[in-house]
Symmetry: C2
Subunit: 174 residues, 2 copies
């Protein structure tokens, strides 16, 4: 991550510390994809159109900060998974997506919908299940495309897989 | 704001759009200070140790994107206030502060506490008032320092004023 000028280090508020870790745009898009079940380097590259060197650098930072862990899936190849502390970012990520949907509205409505996996109800913008009255953790949330039309609709394998309902934190079948 | 490479523009998810607006570390610290009632350019400079040119640039972006508005307070001088869309970022900001407090813990506990102004109860990490069962908007939230010791405690006028309980979005008396 590009460090901020040293002045920034004198901002010790928890927000400043959080931003030091996740306050970088690619980083939060990577974290979003890990929530969506995209765990392999090549899939992240294809879905995010991110330069390989930038992705490698951001993933290394996330591993070093304890938000992401590597898990070997075959000889010499690792997948990337959120740790408990990474998964704890779910309310922040949901809040940013909801804010984006309200303030940069797409024609037709929300572009992506989040559901309580246990009952299928659509979550409120605060992430609560209106039917059960609970605020599910990410592992109990599913997502599917909303009615909003996406002007920059993509057609890579991850984007296609995410057109079907999918439970967060479970590997996406690409 | 420094634009991301053009590839980034192909990420049309609401998160990508939100990050295009607020996904810059200084920007969210400025938004935090506006929530805390710091509305004048010189106070923001002193509290954030931010270079004047950077602050001017970030404020201009926030005004252009509709998150912040200028309000004249004397001839030729403007204050900066959050608009409704800027105030809507409250849950995201609270979420990031809570996450920072959990994952970069200070000795002694939380560095800052948020209260439901109507009843004085401490909000949960999800921003809910446990006594009233409501999730107050920012204008109904007050803040005071928590028990956590701040290793980089600052001593500018804004930092001193924020040692007293203060209602969000009301001008801080510096």
């Amino acid at each position: 991550m590009v460090p901020l000028p040293s002045d920034y280090a004198t901002q010790s508020c928890p927000l400043a510390r959080s931003l030091e870790i996740v306050g970088e745009r690619w980083t939060l898009l990577i974290v979003r994809d890990l929530f969506f079940g995209v765990h392999r380097f090549g899939e992240l590259v294809a879905h995010l159109d991110i330069p390989r060197a930038v992705l490698a650098d951001r993933l290394a930072s996330l591993v070093e900060r304890g938000l992401v862990e590597r898990r070997p899936y075959r000889s010499g190849r690792d997948e990337f998974h959120l740790t408990a502390s990474g998964r704890d970012l779910w309310p922040v990520l949901l809040g940013l997506m909801e804010w984006g949907d309200r303030h940069c509205a797409a024609p037709g409505g929300r572009r992506r919908i989040f559901l309580h996996a246990a009952c299928g109800s659509e979550l409120t913008s605060a992430g609560e299940c209106p039917a059960c009255g609970v605020t599910p953790v990410a592992a109990d949330v599913a997502t599917r495309p909303g009615p909003g039309r996406d002007p920059a609709r993509r057609d890579d394998p991850v984007s296609r897989a995410l057109r079907r309902p999918h439970r967060l934190l479970t590997p996406l079948t690409v």
